[in-house]
């Protein structure tokens, strides 16, 4: 069974490995290997063996945690139990087979490398510990793979309900904030290496199943056989238990999807005489409340903002609190940047009523503002009140981002549309949607850009010591926000009207309608419109952030000859200059990376297409039927 499934998985991987997926796999694999190397380095850390064991236990717990959260981001595994639901195979056997197949993968290989840290640590303690560490390593790896598969089932079932979607959103937000704040860990590490963990912390960490291997290895050094055999047997027992549990949940979906009820006949008929914009608005407000995917967006934005604002409190800093509202609005725009893609082919109804495109855009903008506007404003007021200052900054950024977000959100949704399964086809697996990293990234950069003018007004007031000018940032934010809402929303409606049938085709077929190609076609011309837009935007932002805003001020700081001109970093207080230069370089380099990723994948696609065409002057390939 396992052999068949492993061969099957390898075949699927071979077919999907082309294109962007390969890039991600390679990048992910390299990053993973670097982290694995870090884990092994920990095992050789120069500290008391007990402290190193604690550190390893913490790290292994983080690896296990990562394995459990992975499916929430990575989507469904290659081989799913549902695909074999009708095969006459006992469930436990299927579970074992799928487990075997789950071991084949980049992630498992990387984790195996990381877990050899256990063997390295054992080598410090003696030959007996090394002998014990090998079965411990195998059991530990099996444990995390199993936990991951069970978590995938669990999250999949969870995300079908709205409450579950909210929980998933909070977990996602926590992951994002933690991954951005990795530096805190290093500070903590520095302290721990000298003083060791407190006794309670140590006990709690060692109670986790991911630490039992470490306990056994330690006990082997002391020749304390009870504590060698005990944890290993417990680990093996847990693995068997999880296999059995997995076999049980493999059957048809047991966790039913809670059904959301709509409004009664009387309430459905309300608000009916206020025109098409109101109609779209009411539909959107209802959808935000009823669709688990939207509920997830509703929760993830404020959760991310709050956690980011609260993290600096560890160092008694409230400096981020005034911006919690602005960050909420920014994240809200980022996560809602694929609204049309989420609604799928329902676009045909808009196409069938020409002239309502603007109403569609305005209704969606207003609904978005209804859900995120008051929330952002309240968070801004509360956060700034707690911090006690920075009012002009907070007001300017919140208003500008809300307006800019409302304007750019739908322009991005039309221009960078990512097709996914239609909502009625994936109602039982809402986590299975198109990869929206592209539009999210574009929305993030553009909304930040839209907020710059208002922030520049505040900055100018600060520098010139003109409080009135600083306070003018707020009205400036409202103004740029209104302009963005009005003009960019109008632009989105115009594009929607012009390209409606093409967008619908993209969502029906899952890819853009390809025009005839020849060998002379340049990559830039051949790539889909939205890809071209993404390429130029990120290239432009990359140039701007890397050279004038990053490298030039860097050179000036190093040489000491400072001319401020329009170099943002040099206008800021001394302490902020280096971080801003670093941030600019980071933005610039990631924008360049995005641009080259787009170029490389598209040129590879074009090349493959041309080769295929050259090879296929024979009978035509199977067409892509619409519908």
């Amino acid at each position: 069974m396992a052999g068949v499934l492993i061969r099957m998985k390898l075949a699927v991987l071979r077919h999907t490995i082309a294109g962007p997926k390969a890039t991600w796999m390679l990048t992910g694999g390299l990053v993973g290997l670097a982290i694995a190397a870090g884990t092994i380095a920990l095992a050789t850390a120069d500290a008391a063996p007990g402290t190193v064991a604690d550190l390893l236990a913490v790290t292994f717990a983080i690896w296990a945690f990562g394995w459990m959260l992975g499916p929430a981001f990575g989507g469904d595994p290659v081989l799913r139990a549902e695909q074999f639901a009708l095969e006459p195979v006992p469930r436990t056997r299927l579970a074992l087979g799928l487990l075997g197949a789950a071991f084949v993968g980049v992630t498992t290989a990387v984790t195996l490398v990381a877990f050899t840290a256990l063997v390295v640590y054992a080598a410090r303690l003696g030959i007996l510990s090394v002998v014990v560490s090998i079965p411990a390593l195998v059991l530990q790896l099996t444990l995390v793979v199993l936990l991951s598969r069970l978590a995938a089932r669990f999250f999949g079932a969870l995300a079908r309900s709205r409450a579950g979607a909210a929980v998933t959103a909070v977990i996602t937000a926590t992951m994002m904030v933690l991954s951005q704040s990795g530096w805190v860990v290093f500070i903590a590490l520095d302290v721990v290496l000298e003083t060791g963990f407190s006794r309670t912390t140590s006990l709690v960490i060692r109670a986790l199943p991911s630490s039992w291997g470490v306990i056994a290895v330690e006990a082997a050094a002391r020749k304390d056989w009870l504590w060698v055999v005990g944890p290993l047997v417990a680990l093996a027992g847990l693995v068997v238990l999880l296999v059995l549990l997995w076999g049980r949940v493999l059957g048809p979906q047991r966790l039913a999807r809670p059904v959301v009820r709509g409004s009664s006949a009387a309430r459905a008929a309300k608000w009916t005489d206020r025109g098409p914009t109101a109609a779209v608005y009411v539909k959107e407000v209802r959808t935000w409340l009823r669709d688990p995917l939207r509920v997830q967006s509703l929760v993830v934005a404020p959760a991310f903002a709050l956690l980011s604002g609260l993290l600096p409190l560890m160092f008694d800093s409230t400096a981020l609190l005034p911006f919690v509202g602005a960050i909420t609005a920014l994240m809200a725009a980022t996560v809602s940047s694929n609204l049309y893609g989420q609604d799928g082919t329902a676009l045909w109804l808009t196409l069938m009523t020409p002239g309502t495109e603007l109403a569609d855009v305005r209704g969606r903008q207003l609904a978005w503002l209804t859900w995120f506007g008051p929330l952002s404003i309240v968070l801004t007021v509360v956060g700034t009140a707690i911090h006690g200052s920075l009012w002009p900054w907070a007001i300017a950024s919140t208003t500008a981002i809300l307006g800019g977000g409302a304007g750019l959100l739908l322009l991005t949704a039309v221009d960078q549309l990512v097709p996914g399964p239609d909502p009625h086809r994936n109602k039982n697996s809402p986590l299975d949607h198109g990869d929206t990293t592209g539009p999210a990234f574009v929305a993030l950069l553009l909304v930040l850009t839209a907020a710059t003018p208002a922030l520049c007004v505040v900055l100018a007031g600060d520098l010139l010591d003109m409080p009135l000018l600083m306070w003018a940032g707020g009205p400036a934010g409202v103004l740029t926000g209104l302009v963005a809402y009005w003009i960019l929303g109008g632009l989105a409606a115009k594009r929607l009207a012009e390209r409606g049938p093409e967008l619908l085709y993209l969502m029906r077929a899952g890819k853009e309608h390809e025009a005839a190609l020849s060998a002379e076609t340049s990559v830039i011309k051949a790539m889909p419109r939205h890809r071209r837009g993404l390429l130029w935007t990120s290239f432009f932002i990359g140039c701007l952030a890397t050279f004038p805003q990053g490298l030039v001020p860097l050179g000036m700081k190093l040489s000491g000859e400072i001319e401020r001109v329009w170099f943002l970093a040099l206008y800021l207080p001394e302490g902020l200059q280096w971080p801003v230069i670093a941030l600019m370089l980071l933005i610039g380099l990631s924008a360049f990376a995005l641009a080259s990723w787009v170029y490389l994948t598209e040129s590879r696609k074009l090349k493959a297409k041309l080769e295929r065409k050259a090879a296929e002057r024979r009978p035509q390939e199977q067409p892509l039927a619409v519908g």
Binding site: V259, V260, R261, G262, S263, S264, A265, A268, A269, T272, D273, R274, G275, P276, A278, A279, V280, V282, K283, R286, T287, R290, D291, D343, G344, T345, A346, W348, L349, L351, M352, T353, P354, G355, T356, A359, D422, P423, H424, K427, P501, E502, L504, Y505, R508, H513, E514, A516, K613, Q620, E621, P623, L624, A625, V626, G627
Partner: protein, 262 residues
């Protein structure tokens, strides 16, 4: 839509496809297709899977841009004057999404407003349509996403009928629909035609087309290979036999499989 319907000259075809042509990459999905649906006729478009029925209908109603050719609804060009054309027709595409998180009534109310109907008309028609389609009562508060296939087809037909069109274009209206819902849909369509409306539907169920339609067209490999009154097209044979002959395919299933149920 608005109470005032665009003026239509008598004798113009309800729907006319003029040389519609569509190429996907190197594959010709629809090859210069011509069709004429007379006013008041019940028109069936049949063809095997992949014959280009959905592509042709999508181009005819304005959901897919044709490479060449035109489509006219009562003489109004669908691509040049979309607003006027779409007031005259109701469309039911196959398998497309709807605003999924609304109830049937909310959906009809939303579409009525979008199409510029006044509140009273919307409310009355929504109630009538939901009652006729058996989507009120127990199903009142069920969201469209939780509808069964038959219910989806029925709410789709309700959205197509809502603004009182004169032509219905239905893509596979009976696909995967249970017999009870199918009977409801058939009765409504027959009433619509009896009242002077025109219907164009696509299907690959021959018996159904024979039962309902007065005019048929057969599509194969993107081309219209036969068009005319039902009796003329099928002649003495059944529509199914004529169809197999026209499409020119070899019917499989006769060889191999000796191990099956032996």
């Amino acid at each position: 839509m608005n109470a005032v319907q665009p003026r239509v000259e008598d004798g113009t075809a309800a729907l006319r496809l003029l040389g519609l042509h569509k190429v996907f990459g190197e594959y010709t999905a629809v090859d210069h297709a011509d069709l004429t649906v007379a006013p008041g006729s019940f028109y069936g478009l049949v063809g095997p899977n992949g014959a280009g029925k959905t592509t042709a209908l999508s181009m005819a109603v304005g959901l897919l841009r044709p490479d060449e050719g035109r489509s006219e609804v009562f003489g109004v060009d669908v691509w040049a004057d979309p607003l006027a054309a779409r007031k005259l027709m109701g469309v039911l595409p196959d398998g497309l999404a709807l605003p999924e998180r609304l109830t049937g009534r909310e959906l009809l109310t939303y579409l009525g407003q979008l199409r510029g109907l006044d509140a009273k008309t919307v409310a009355d028609r929504a109630t009538e349509l939901l009652d006729v389609m058996e989507l009120s009562g127990d199903a009142e508060r069920t969201l469209v996403v939780d509808y069964s296939t038959g219910m989806r087809k029925k709410i789709g037909l309700a959205t197509a009928l809502l603004h009182g069109p004169r032509l219905l274009v239905l893509d596979e209206p009976f696909e995967a629909v249970d017999p009870v819902s199918a009977a409801t849909i058939k009765r409504i369509l027959n009433r619509f035609v009896a009242g002077g409306g025109s219907v164009l539907l696509s299907s690959h169920v021959m018996a159904l087309v024979e039962q309902l339609c007065d005019t048929v067209a057969v599509m194969a490999k993107g081309r219209v290979v036969a068009e005319g009154p039902l009796d003329q097209v099928r002649g003495a044979a059944s529509l199914e036999d004529t169809f197999v002959e026209l499409v020119g395919v070899k019917v499989g299933g006769g060889e191999g499989l000796s191990w099956l149920a032996s």
